[in-house]
């Protein structure tokens, strides 16, 4: 599949920046080839999934306010079918990690992520959730949500404007649209838990992750 064939109604493919990275992912995903019927079914399922991403706002700080602004009147997240903000992780499809993740919050972020039902997606919104942002040198800050959970899309900014958030969410829609429901193939997601240590035993915690094998 070509990246230009992934249609997002709001934004043509060429207007997205850096299509090469996504293309590389797609090529890797499609290395084995697909049955036509299955491919059509996949497309329909992905169409449904991509257009009905119900978010769970894991809002810890400033970015959460921009997420709220994006959901309200001026920007209106509802246009993309994403306004059904579910506060219960069981019912959400997309976790928007908006804000700094600190040591004390890490286990809780992981737990909320584990409570979500498949297929689940994660958007790291803002510099803090990407890398720790301005607090990268702090003793109590985890340098990026991807130390705890796999992340699909990174949205830079401090905090990102609602427009950036939309751009990121449209990117996520593109990623969702090339996935394969049959065979359960998904684009590999960055996830580097380099310092996960169990405090009780002192050993490194082995995190099972089917997408990282």
């Amino acid at each position: 599949m070509d990246v230009n064939k992934v249609k997002i109604k709001a934004l043509p493919s060429d207007d997205f920046k850096d299509n090469e990275t996504l293309q590389a992912y797609i090529d890797e995903l499609n290395a084995t080839g697909t049955n036509v019927v299955v491919g059509k079914l996949d497309q329909m399922i992905n169409w449904g999934r991509a257009n009905s991403l119900w978010p769970l706002a894991f809002a810890t700080s400033c970015c959460g306010i921009e997420f709220m602004a994006a959901a309200a009147a001026h920007y209106d997240l509802a246009r993309f079918g994403m306004e059904v903000v579910r506060n219960s992780p069981r019912q959400a499809d997309l976790m928007v990690v908006a804000g700094t993740i600190v040591h004390k919050m890490g286990p809780l972020l992981r737990r909320v992520y584990d409570q979500m039902a498949e297929p689940k997606y994660v958007v790291a919104m803002g510099a803090c959730a990407i890398s720790g942002g301005p607090f990268v040198n702090s003793y109590h800050v985890i340098n990026g949500a991807d130390k705890i959970i796999p992340v699909d899309v990174y949205i830079p900014g401090c905090p990102p404007r609602p427009e950036s958030l939309f751009y990121g969410l449209l990117q996520l829609q593109r990623k969702v649209k090339v996935e394969k429901f049959f065979g359960n193939k998904r684009i590999v997601r960055p996830y580097n838990p380099d310092t996960l240590i169990n405090p009780k035993t002192g050993e490194t915690v082995k995190v099972e992750n089917e997408f990282n094998k």
């Binding site: 399922i45 009905s52 209106d76 509802a78």
Partner: protein, 370 residues
Amino acid sequence: MKQPLELTGLISNLHTFFRSNLTPFWATVIEGALVLIAVLAAYAIIALALIYIERKITAFFQSRLGPNRLGKYGWIQSVADLIKILIKEIIHINKVDKVLFYAAPFFVIVSSVLTFGIIPFGQGLQAVDFNIGIVYILAVSSIGIIGVLLAGWSSNNKYSMIGAMRSGAQFISYELSAGFALMTVVVLSGTMQVSEIVESQRYAWNVFNGHIPAMIAFVIYLISGHAETNRGPFDLPEAEGELTAGYHTEYSGLQFGFFYLAEYLNMFIIAAIATTVFLGGWMPIQVQGWDGFNQVMWYIPSYVWFFAKTGVLIFFSLWVRWSFPRLRIDLLLNLEWKYLLPINLVNIIVMVVVVLLGWTLEDLFPIFRP
């Protein structure tokens, strides 16, 4: 009168076709199956439409656009939601009471489908028509609450539990008011059969025919019906701000979909019953003596009338939902036990007096009599 767009002809043709070509046993089976399929299909389609309509109307109230990416004006948005929710993972949770946890959504959805079956959508478009129709509505709609209670209990989650308890208290209270409001109309029309109630409203809708007591009953029914569906300002059992998602916090995937669907459908059912009982159901607007006008009105098919009236009520219900803050549990129970129920009890007696003394609109002005 000519009714070219009605479905009654089609239905009776089908009936005679099956009866003439098949043994009675198989005719019954096939007709039953067809009715079942039709009801379920209508159920699903109305639910999807309602989800879309609610989102759009909400957007209108909140000066937003609402879904507009899928199809023109985003009208197939809820189809995407449906596809997603159908193939979403259903999480198996440890430490829940498995039997009850999985049974609970079915209680809710079955109760809502059963109530749905008795609604007359148009002339001849009614799946079941008992002679105790009103009592039937009250009976089967009360099963749903057991699903909510069991869901809250079996989830093994404190938020769910609180939601379920609130729900129980709320439902038991408002079921009374809703029942009494409907009974007021039964006094007026002298029958419990839904089709007869509709038939009796040919020229004077019940809400006008019974004037003051009927209007009071109408308002009370709308309030208590709204409360029974657990929607804002009565959405305490879910109370997003407090209980995250209330009694269905732990449900995911299709199980949550059932709750979600039933919630929307219950809103429709309440509006539909209010339409049927108070606003003349599928009856077009008729004026005694104006034959030309009446003829034109009859050209508009009955199901259009029905959905138009129901739609207006749904719009009002959404208007209320998106304008008011949430009630607190004590205010909620005060409203019911201190205001609605006493008013209702007096109202039903007033209605009896009105009917006995012949003060209804039909009695006072025989021109309205069918």
